[in-house]
């Protein structure tokens, strides 16, 4: 008899399984319904075949922690009629898409939906957790409690600016995985990891038994390979959204990252 995993443990398990198979975990991100609303579920299934956990961006009118690509995709998705209700309905209709789904959303769409209803409907739609970039730990108790009732993860973000006692608090409090943001500017062809990044990732890992995923603006296989020894997974966001905008095959791009 196999044990049934809670939604949040499904996230951790998927990343650990990748590591056990000798691979760094891959967490592709797309803005829901962008660039083509009709292709949302097909695209999600395609990236779920290559990724271990998939992250679905709920578009928000004021994405103050995002760069130009996600701003562009968010505004276009809103204009096309994408909403949190629509996303939940699509995921519910689609059933299992092949990998655990994490929703990334700013606070206001979550508030407008209503926390209790959101937790119930998300769980029913197969969502395993949430990432909320404008919900720091100190403000998160209410939402965390609601998600707890359905065993959904609230993934905490940490950054190189996070001082050590706080880093430990956030790592201990995170669920599913720890999202390690780095703002040290690894872009384009620069594939070497500076020691401050590897030190930071090692420090994050030292505070948690959960998988640690690095959000970098990862674009190249060399970066993914280099990160593999310091993080359990990598998050691929803007680069993937740009490939989708260009009409490229997202699965081929993702496969290439771990080639």
């Amino acid at each position: 008899m196999t044990e049934v995993l809670s939604p949040r443990d499904r996230i951790s398990e998927a990343l650990r399984t990748a590591n056990a198979n000798g691979k760094v975990g891959l967490v592709p991100f797309i803005t829901a319904g962008y660039p083509d609303k009709d292709l949302f579920i097909d695209t999600l299934k395609a990236i779920a075949r290559e990724g271990n956990v998939v992250e679905v961006g709920v578009p928000f009118s004021d994405p103050m922690a995002d760069g130009v690509t996600i701003q562009r995709s968010s505004h276009a998705a809103i204009a096309a009629g994408v909403s949190l209700h629509w996303i939940i309905d699509e995921l519910t209709a689609a059933g299992d898409i092949g990998a655990p789904v994490v929703l990334m959303s700013y606070m206001n769409p979550l508030l407008a939906f209503g926390f209790d209803e959101l937790a119930a409907k998300s769980a029913a739609a197969g969502v395993c957790g949430f990432i909320v970039p404008d919900l720091p730990w100190e403000e998160s108790e209410l939402f965390r409690d609601v998600l707890d009732s359905k065993e959904l993860a609230l993934v905490q973000l940490v950054t190189p600016a996070t001082p050590d006692p706080r880093l430990e608090l956030l790592c201990k409090g995170s669920q599913g995985f720890v999202y390690a943001v780095t703002i040290t500017g690894i872009t384009g062809g620069d594939v070497a990891l500076p020691p401050e990044v590897t030190n930071y990732l090692d420090q994050v890992k030292s505070h948690t038994d959960l998988p640690v995923c690095a959000g970098f603006g990862v674009r190249h296989a060399e970066q993914v390979a280099n990160l593999g020894s310091h993080a359990n997974g990598v998050i691929v966001g803007s680069a993937l959204v740009e490939r989708l905008e260009a009409g490229d095959d997202p699965a081929a791009f993702l496969a290439g990252l771990r080639a």
Binding site: I78, L84, D134, Q156, A161, L170, V181, I183
Partner: protein, 420 residues
């Protein structure tokens, strides 16, 4: 999340607000406020909060700020008895002349205080957003005075309608960056300034211009703008021999209003009226009347009343005045509305324009379009409440609005024979 406040809670919250116990240690004004910031900024905001409480309670810092407010800003600004408006409205009308402060608006009180704080904190550069351009000009001037480089983010729409202020910022040494994303007004400029701060939270100081944003900004801005109400209180007692029956101010984010209201909240005889931008009228997207039409939500780092749709997307707004064209409001205003200590009404574009013309004709003063909303609200209130003492927050001068004004009220060309 909770946003209802019952009568007993309201009385307790007001007492705590007056007793300087709010915001609490979580940055809350009752249910409102808090710190909904990206994790990257949390340490920077904590450091800012530490320094805010340290320096605003430091006698040396405050004495230096006070001397700069006197010698450079030109404070105290006068309280002018508006004889013409008083006669027209059947009231005793007094104008708090923030239009006479250096750079032409109340924004300089906050910009100077924060620029001095930024210097104490060792900031290498200052970033700021601006809507009408008044905060941008004030920040550019204050940073030049204090000696810190400054970059101002301004929506492309606002750059067009407030062109004179863009040139002023440039002359004062600021770098002005047009914001082409989102609604290309104040809200998009704040988004962009936050993004820039996220990229360099240690070296940059974000000089936020209104009583909005994550803790400690609403408190910091209230403290720095409270010089307005503190002066008004003394000036009314010495000029009119009594406190006003009502103080009236326009409310966008709400910094000049909170500066005028806060120091008199304890005076039970004084009523307060905040006037929001009613735009074209009550239709969705036709105004910026946040407290009149909004719901509590999270934008730009705090939980406060906002204009948003069923999906939580922030609503596009409209106002003839760029400084009021904002879908949110400071958390202290949300509390003051919830507990009923301040009444909030709206004034339409047309009503603000007619009040502006009336002020020009009766007083020889051209108010900013933002301030004109306060005049419109005060005029309506005076009709319902004859014979009262009214203080209007004249938050800024209207020179910057000439491009907009000449569009709405074309200047007639007088033939030389008619000039006499």
């Amino acid at each position: 999340m909770e946003s209802e406040v019952d009568k007993q809670q309201g009385a307790d919250l007001l007492a705590r607000l007056i007793g300087n116990e709010l915001p609490d240690e979580h940055g809350r004004y009752g249910p409102f406020g808090g710190c909904y910031a990206p994790e990257t900024l949390v340490p920077a905001l904590a450091r800012l909060a530490e320094n805010v409480y340290r320096y605003l309670d430091d006698d040396n810092f405050m004495a230096h700020l006070d001397s700069q407010l006197r010698g450079w800003v030109g404070r105290p600004t006068p309280l002018t008895h508006a004889a013409g408006l008083s006669e027209r409205w059947g009231a005793a009308v007094f104008l708090k002349r923030e239009d006479l402060a250096h750079t032409g608006a109340h924004k300089i009180n906050n910009a100077l205080g924060q620029a001095l704080l930024a210097r104490e904190m060792g900031a290498k550069r200052v970033i700021a957003e601006t809507g009408a351009g008044q905060h941008g000009v004030a920040t550019a001037a204050a940073c030049a005075r204090v000696g810190i480089p400054c970059t101002v983010y301004m929506g492309a729409v606002d750059i067009q309608r407030q062109a004179p202020n863009v040139d002023r910022m440039y002359q004062l040494g600021a770098k002005v960056v047009p914001v082409e994303t989102g609604d290309r007004t104040l809200r998009a400029a704040i988004d962009e300034a936050f993004r820039n701060w996220v990229a360099d939270p240690e070296g940059s100081y974000y000089l936020l211009g209104s009583a909005v944003g994550p803790h400690p900004y609403p408190y910091l801005v209230q403290r720095l703008q409270s010089v307005i109400g503190t002066e008004v209180r003394e000036q009314m007692l010495s000029i009119a021999g009594d406190l006003p029956d009502i103080a009236v101010a326009c409310v966008g984010g709400g910094s000049n209003a909170i500066g005028l209201f806060h120091p008199m909240l304890a005076d039970e005889s004084v009523e307060f009226l905040g006037v929001e931008a009613g735009g074209y009228g009550p239709g969705l997207g036709d105004n910026s009347a946040t407290l009149a039409a909004g719901e509590p939500g999270v934008l730009h780092g705090s939980y406060s009343v906002l204009l948003y749709d069923d999906n939580g997307q922030i609503q596009e707004t409209h106002s003839i005045s760029a400084g009021l064209d904002y879908p949110g409001v400071g958390p202290e205003h949300s509390l003051l509305k919830a507990i009923g200590r301040v009444s909030y009404v709206t004034a339409t574009d047309d009503s603000a324009l007619s009040a502006l013309q009336e002020c020009c004709a009766a007083e020889g003063i051209l108010p900013a379009l933002e301030s004109a909303h306060a005049f419109a609200g005060a005029r309506d209130w005076a009709q319902q409440n004859p014979g009262k003492r009214i203080v209007i927050g004249l938050s800024g001068r209207g020179d910057k609005d000439m491009p907009t004004l000449s569009q709405h009220i074309p200047t007639p060309i007088v033939a030389s024979g008619d000039a006499a």
